[in-house]
Amino acid sequence: MNMRISKVLVIIAVGIFLLGIPYFVTSPYVMHIIIFSGIYIIFALSYDIVVGYLGMLSLGHPAFYGVGGYTSVLLVMKLDVPYVIALPIAGILALIVALIVGFPALRLSYHSFAIVTLAFTLIMRAVWINWVSLTNGPMGIPGVPRPTIDIPFLGAIHIETLTDYYYFILILVIITCLFIYFMIHSRVGRALLSIRENEVLAETLGVNAFKYRMIAFAIGAFFAGLAGSFTAHYITFMGPEFTDFYYITMLLIMVILGGSGTIHGVIIGAIAFTFIPEYLRITPEFRDVIYGIVLLITIIFMPEGIGGKINEIIYKRRVKTG
């Protein structure tokens, strides 16, 4: 009982803190990084569905981010679709693309899957760069409109200031976290874990591994698409650079260092690796070298990540206290 009350109190405190951020953060730059942390939390959590819960090394995630971005930008700019509709369509299209890619790719061996998804990213990038009439190619699409959300009877909400964007991304982050939390505690989540731990055994228990892999891969793509769409309408620019391979390195560090397969770990990883690179006052050339070293050290000495370590500590304490 006591535990429960304190838990509720903590949640309320965190809630107030999160809602209050725009009121005590005065620097627009810090607000900007906080908003980006939100984007990367969604992006990294969606990646973790594939890497952490499914246990497949996908290198195709930036492509879904790009699919999401291009979809909503083109819908809004070329077809005047309202953003409230364009945003979910961005996610759904990313999901459909994931199903198309996953259908052959998820039948391959682990290693082939990694390389085929990498190839997919590069192919998508080539399409965006070269299909100039649709995407404006490498010139990108400048002047992407800021989102307007029409609510019946209440009028339109224009997302314009950093504060508006902050609350918008906060809502998306909460939706993503809740969705993933309930997913992993559902049948689907249990099936995924059983496949990750022992595929053969899972199959003999009647779990259709391929089906669940498709589900997880597609859900991951859906949220990546949402993140991509939000980013494009926040930066007000969309271009093929959104799918740089650089994002894979960053995602891997967020997920692996944070602790793949743990929601809180990945959130910590995403926030830390949005803030740290911005604040490191080192020559930018060194930054990527440091990324690489951090990744390497984490893998060798702490493959369960920070989140995993925290879990371990909590587990040990629980065991000790009975």
Binding site: R107, L108, H111, A114, I115, A119, L252, I256, I299
Partner: protein
């Protein structure tokens, strides 16, 4: 007609380079079951070492030897500290670790040598040989020659020597290797170093005919992945054939279809083949 043969010659020359790097990838996969993302970086580093050594007036053939030797040593170090501790744990870890190594090496190269390209200018290497309008420079002829010699040597090494046989054995059954007294970690180290050396040899050979820059390996290694998958993971002959096929397809596709989609052709060929033959055209052999 001239164009046709010129394209074929171009394809073969690049096929030889792809094949050298891809063979390294495939044997490492066959034995350690690790996709080595840093393979392209060995190629890049070897080119830089060749450049640095050549800069202090060491003759080019000796520079090649030094570059390859350096890559072998780096390969041994990488295997010992970044791969071996991860063997037997989750399968993604060694791959991620090579990805980390790749990021470090590539950006380290930028830090040390800046993104500016470097070149080595050797007159004989750039000597044009013109056969009825089809041109090839001396160095590319050398690349093809050395690649073929290397593949024959590698075949002999793997089929006939004790270490080569042990490598085959490890790729087929590690358990059986342990019970007949083969030191599996040692063979893994040798294999990884051999892979690094092959890639390094490729890098040292292209140094006089290419610009040397920190991202030169990345573009190449992606094609090599495609060759390895097409050839059937761990299948050396399949990988070599696929590397040449991809390079030739690419050569013609660029000229007759489009340069913009150059990097896509290899992957499309790979994906189409995987759709029909998930284990590659040549099928996955047991072992290398």
């Amino acid at each position: 007609m001239e164009t046709f043969f010129q394209l074929l010659v171009n394809g073969i020359a690049f096929g030889a380079i792809y094949a050298m790097v891809a063979v390294g990838l495939t044997i490492v996969f066959g034995i350690l079951e690790v996709v080595n993302f840093a393979q392209g970086e060995f190629y890049m580093l070897a080119a830089y070492v060749t450049f640095l050594v050549y800069l202090v007036q060491i003759p080019y053939p000796l520079a090649i030897a030094i570059a390859v030797g350096t890559m072998v040593v780096i390969g041994l170090v990488v295997e010992r500290f970044a791969i071996r501790p991860l063997i037997g744990r989750a399968w993604q870890l060694p791959i991620l670790s090579t990805l980390g190594i790749s990021i470090i090496m590539q950006n380290g190269a930028i830090v040390i040598w800046t993104p500016n390209p470097r070149t080595i200018i050797i007159d004989i290497a750039n000597l044009n040989i013109d056969i009825f309008g089809v041109v090839i420079v001396f160095q590319k002829l050398m690349i093809v020659f050395f690649a073929l010699a290397l593949f024959i040597g590698l075949h002999y090494f793997i089929q006939k020597t004790k270490t080569g046989k042990a490598m085959r054995a490890v790729s087929q059954n590690k358990e059986a290797c342990r019970i007949i007294g083969i030191d599996v970690p040692r063979i893994s180290s040798i294999t990884f170093a051999l892979g690094a050396g092959l890639s390094g040899f490729g890098g040292a050979l292209v140094a006089p005919v290419m610009a040397i820059h920190p991202v030169m390996g990345i573009f190449l290694v992606l094609k090599c992945f495609a060759a390895v998958i097409m050839g059937g993971f761990g299948n050396i002959k399949g990988t070599i054939c696929s590397a040449f096929i991809l390079a030739i397809v690419e050569s013609f596709a660029v000229a007759y279809v489009s340069l913009q989609y150059k990097d896509v052709f290899a992957f499309l060929v790979m994906i189409i083949i995987l759709l029909f033959r998930p284990a590659g055209i040549f099928g996955k052999k047991v072992g290398i």
